[in-house]
């Protein structure tokens, strides 16, 4: 996933001229920021809370943001890093909390791989996608998913297997 600095420049200029266009920056980077934050938080709720803070802060600061050619995502990672430090400091009032480093190239590659996977999830047949979402996002048991989809548990297990096999193939795995 290559981001060009020219794209970044256009996104920033558009959002500075009209804050309603900030959603373009959000759409482009939300998955990366969420992936970065999620690895450094204890649960999904905390990751969602901090991801929201990052984009709220970025929107608030967009008018004052001076673009000097660095990728926009680097700016967002810095905001996220500070928000994570706030988060952990609140949980350990007396401890020294150093903001985490922004991701190194190895982690960026890992984040991009996951984002590609998540995009493949969105391409799955609707029932398979629902099973993945209920199992991994909502953390429902097979029984709960079966009830919600009005299917047998065996059928849901089959859908889960097919979804994961399809994702493995999409990600370059072999049969």
């Amino acid at each position: 996933m290559t981001q060009t600095t020219e794209d970044d420049r256009l996104l920033i200029e558009a959002a500075q001229a009209d804050p309603a266009r900030f959603v373009g920056i959000y759409e482009r980077y939300v998955d990366r920021i969420y992936a970065f934050v999620r690895r450094r938080t204890e649960n999904r709720a905390a990751a969602e809370d901090i991801t929201s803070q990052v984009f709220e802060q970025a929107l608030g600061a967009i008018g004052r943001f001076e673009w000097r050619g660095a990728p926009v995502v680097a700016w967002l990672f810095r905001i996220a890093s500070n928000a994570l430090a706030d988060h952990w400091r609140e949980r350990a009032r007396d401890a020294q909390v150093t903001p985490p480093d922004v991701p190194d190239p190895g982690e960026l590659e890992d984040i991009d791989r996951r984002i590609a996977l998540y995009q493949h999830v969105e391409q799955l047949p609707e029932l398979q996608r629902q099973v993945i979402q209920m199992r991994f996002v909502e953390e429902k048991s097979i029984r709960e998913v079966a009830t919600a989809l009005d299917r047998s548990e065996g059928a849901v297990k089959q859908l889960q297997l097919r979804a994961l096999e399809s994702l493995r193939k999409s990600m370059g795995g072999h049969d």
């Binding site: 709220e56 999830v121 297990k157």
Partner: protein, 318 residues
Amino acid sequence: MTERPLTDRLDETVDAIVARRDATDALRDPELAPLARIAADLRHYPSPEFKASLRAQLERRASMTAVTTAIRQGFTTVTPYIRVREAGLVDFLAQVFDARETFSGRGSGGGMHREVRVGDSMVIIGEGDAGGGGVMPIRPVAFHVFVNDADATFERAIAAGATPLGEPADRAYGERSGFVADPFGNHWYIATPLGRESVAGALRTVTPVLHVKGAAAYVEFLKRALGAIEEMRHDEGGQLRYARLRIGDGAIELGEGEPMPGSFLLYVGDPDALYQQALAAGATSLMPPTDQPYGRIGGVEDALGNQWFFSRPVTTSS
């Protein structure tokens, strides 16, 4: 021994991954291992509902920001309005914070109306008994203000007649700050960030601070009444101690404490709509929106005595 079906083995592995139990056994099963790796990555799959809801939230706030920017350049959505009985506050702010008066004029009630820039922030000061349209009480307000050198600014404030409320010290929340009351009783929490983790990055030079009783419930009220967005909160002993809220592209901070209500001007595109929204959330009317020579304005007071005026000026100014 008959091997159990792959569907069942995979399901147990997914259960273990979601519950953060040990799932490494799966990696020794050649049929299961590649699927287990995919499943492990899916544990962090972002919720589509969360992404859609955050997008909608950003769009709402962006539309408010766009309106304010278009309405009054240099202002954010929330501008504190300080009522004082006599002149002198502008001089104090100039001496201590290098503030600059950008506009002054006589208000319709006969008092002076002054607009003052402090760093990248604006405050409005109404002087005289008749200022603020007669509905804004004369009362002190509290502010969090970021400066380059909290100690030097604190000293300047004392020299300019302020009363110390707290000597400069390094605070656990990531700033060095000292607290003063100006000669009119307004509180200024003068801060310099300590390192990158300070809240300063999220705030402008001056941010109003509301001390309230029942802070947690009040935050919920502000969300309903003004569309405020909670950006940060710290609870202690089951009580909200501190919260930072966004309203449009402006911010306020609030915390549990001896009440110190204030008056605020919100530049918005549709003052009537926000007035109605605030009333529906439980605020009481101070003045229904009406057209004035300077624009359309209406105002409400909430249960804690804070006043919120919604204004759409007729002209823009810089």
